[in-house]
């Protein structure tokens, strides 16, 4: 809306201040990652004037920035977390691939084919999104135990794919709905099979939508906590779960935890910026188009 120059100026300043308030915790957390122990435990809290250090990153990732450039020293140390980051990446990537593959197939049928009970089917998919993780994790724990899936990639990939399926199906359906079905129909007249249309025409046209869906699935798997906490023990662990284990009997390793946290945000943030165009649609499971 219009207004005088000064009111517009005031609005802009207010907007910057509000966003700065929201950004502050992220800044503070990142600063902790670069602090020595005594700077973290200083009172009043040190916000700007502290001596930066890479010790925390060095301990957590086994990477040091010495005079001879970057040296990597894997292994050792209680807080060496690179394998846990790897676990997170493997689980998030594989579960995303699985969820997106299953979801695009189903979403195409839900978008293009008219069959009885289609609406109730969509409703059922949506209602599985409402299941509290704890109601799935409790029985899954016993089932996984019987099948030896506790603490395995397979188990985590399956459960995260399941968790993301409702979102992925509804979201992909909304992207397919955007592609005019006349394209399919004219191809059918030309003698193409459904699967050929799907693979050769519809999938390439929905590339952006698939990317957005994949990014959201990746992020939700990356940030998931309850399943990872319940269904893993020692050999597979994701970043959110190990973060909560930095609290030890001799105190909390805040600096190391912050280093892990700060580093783990960066890839997810880059991904989400890449699909910002479809972000709101994704966050609302396909029901709001930008």
């Amino acid at each position: 809306m219009n207004g005088s120059f000064s009111t517009r100026m005031l609005r802009t300043i207010a907007a910057w201040v509000v966003v700065a308030v929201f950004f502050f915790p992220i800044y503070y957390w990142t600063s902790v990652a670069f602090k020595h122990g005594n700077d973290i435990f200083n009172r009043p809290p040190k916000l700007i004037a502290f001596t930066p250090t890479f010790d925390n990153f060095q301990k957590v990732f086994g990477i040091s920035l010495g005079s001879g450039g970057i040296t990597v020293t894997p292994g050792g140390g209680n807080f060496y977390m690179a394998p846990r980051v790897w676990d997170s990446i493997v689980i998030a990537t594989l579960s995303t691939v699985l969820a997106v593959a299953i979801a695009t197939l189903a979403a195409y049928a839900l978008s293009r084919m008219n069959f009885r009970g289609r609406h109730s089917f969509v409703g059922w998919v949506l209602s599985t999104r409402m299941m509290p993780p704890v109601a799935v994790a409790v029985p899954m724990f016993f089932i996984y135990k019987n099948f030896g899936l506790i603490d395995t990639y397979t188990g985590m990939v399956l459960i995260h794919a399941l968790m993301n399926l409702p979102l992925a199906v509804l979201l992909m359906k909304s992207f397919f709905d955007d592609i005019p079905s006349e394209i399919d129909e004219s191809a059918i007249v030309d003698g193409a099979s459904r699967f050929m249309i799907f693979r050769r025409i519809v999938l390439p046209m929905a590339k952006g939508g698939i990317a957005a869906t994949a990014v959201l699935c990746f992020i939700f798997s990356w940030t998931e906590f309850l399943f990872a906490l319940t269904l893993t023990t020692t050999s597979v662990k994701t970043v959110p779960v190990v973060s909560s284990t930095f609290v030890t009997s001799i105190g909390t390793a805040w600096g190391n935890m912050a280093a892990l946290g700060a580093a783990s945000i960066i890839p997810a943030f880059i991904f989400i910026l890449l699909v910002q165009k479809h972000l709101v649609r994704g966050l609302t499971m396909g029901s709001l188009k930008q």
């Binding site: 809306m1 517009r8 609005r11 802009t12 907007a15 910057w16 929201f22 992220i26 503070y28 957390w29 435990f41 200083n42 009172r43 009043p44 189903a106 049928a109 839900l110 084919m113 069959f115 409703g123 059922w124 949506l126 209602s127 599985t128 409402m130 299941m131 509290p132 704890v134 109601a135 799935v136 994790a137 409790v138 899954m140 724990f141 016993f142 089932i143 399941l162 399926l165 199906v169 459904r194 699967f195 990356w222 940030t223 906590f225 970043v239 959110p240 973060s243 909560s244 783990s264 945000i265 997810a268 943030f269 989400i272 910026l273 972000l279 966050l283 609302t284 029901s287 709001l288 930008q290």
Partner: protein, 295 residues
């Protein structure tokens, strides 16, 4: 011959081959656990005999008489309501503020996106440090302006612990509302606003009579999506307070999880998680009906 027939079916217009993988995984991972949960809620693990035994409706009777359960139900609803109101109001206010062509709007929106990609468990740890009574920056700020007694740590005092958790929750998810509302505001048609300007309506009137009604669908969807997650809250309370002090931050999900995994009350934990599920399904589906949300 049979292969050819199967092949024709797979490439036919029938939706079944397309939906089969989805249906299979949803049956195995949601319907089966549901049935297992119901079965488990009529059994209990007996440590003495290291086995599950049939206990009839004992778990359900216990649930009815369990003050901890009712308390956690109240806490979950309180958390749900307070967080939702704050996130909606703050989200709308910030979205209105950002809905201009001011300098750097795209940048600000990008910054707000950042909170959404941080694992909630890590956000919980962040606020655990910031609310630490000795060296936490939030505690320090509140203490220095006299709003907080240094002897009452935020997260270890029954009256303030839930607020301490809610701060993390609201910080992380208000931007979610802002992004959705901002997209909604940008999609509104300009004509009603022009007409209102000519009629000399105040900006509050414009918001109340034009913006809010036109945004009702967007708001309904935001409430539904966020509301479902709010009711299942687990991560923040687990890492920040573990339900304490006393039982002042026990959410239903946390209570169910602890009964199962910390106290080996498998049957009772299943009963609690079933109740959580039923409440969410009923409320969410009622809301979908009333608000006429469609997918």
């Amino acid at each position: 011959m049979r292969v050819a027939k199967a092949r024709r079916f797979v490439v036919s217009d029938h939706p079944l081959p397309w939906l089969l993988p989805l249906v299979a995984i949803l049956l195995v991972f949601t319907v089966y656990p549901l049935i297992y949960n119901i079965w488990l809620s009529f059994h209990e693990f007996v440590p003495r005999r290291r086995a599950l035994e049939f206990v009839g409706t004992e778990n359900w009777v216990q649930l009815w008489n369990d003050t901890r359960f009712w308390q956690s139900l109240v806490i979950t609803f309180t958390y749900f309501a307070i967080a939702l109101v704050f996130e909606l109001v703050l989200g709308m206010a910030i979205a209105l503020l950002l809905d201009s062509d001011g300098f750097g709007l795209g940048f600000l929106r990008g910054v707000l996106t950042m909170t959404l990609v941080i694992p909630p468990a890590i956000v919980g740890m962040m606020y655990l440090l910031m609310e630490d009574p000795q060296f936490g920056v939030i505690s320090y700020l509140l203490q220095s302006i006299g709003l907080l007694n240094p002897n009452n740590p935020i997260l270890a005092t029954a009256s303030t612990a839930l607020a301490g958790v809610l701060v993390a929750e609201i910080w992380q998810w208000t931007p979610f509302m802002v992004l959705i509302f901002l997209a909604g505001l940008r999609a509104l048609p300009p004509e009603p606003y022009e007409a209102a300007m000519i009629d000399g309506a105040s900006s509050f009137q414009i918001f109340r009579r034009i913006t809010l009604p036109m945004m009702s669908k967007v708001i309904a969807i935001a409430v539904l999506v966020r509301g479902i997650d709010l009711f299942r809250v687990f991560d923040y309370v687990f890492v920040m307070t573990s339900g304490g002090p006393g039982a002042s931050t026990y959410s239903l999900s946390l209570y169910a999880w602890q009964q199962t995994f910390s106290f080996v009350k498998w049957g009772y934990g299943a009963t609690l998680s079933l109740v959580t599920l039923v409440i969410i399904l009923v409320i969410a589906n009622l809301f979908i009906r009333i608000a006429k949300v469609r997918w």
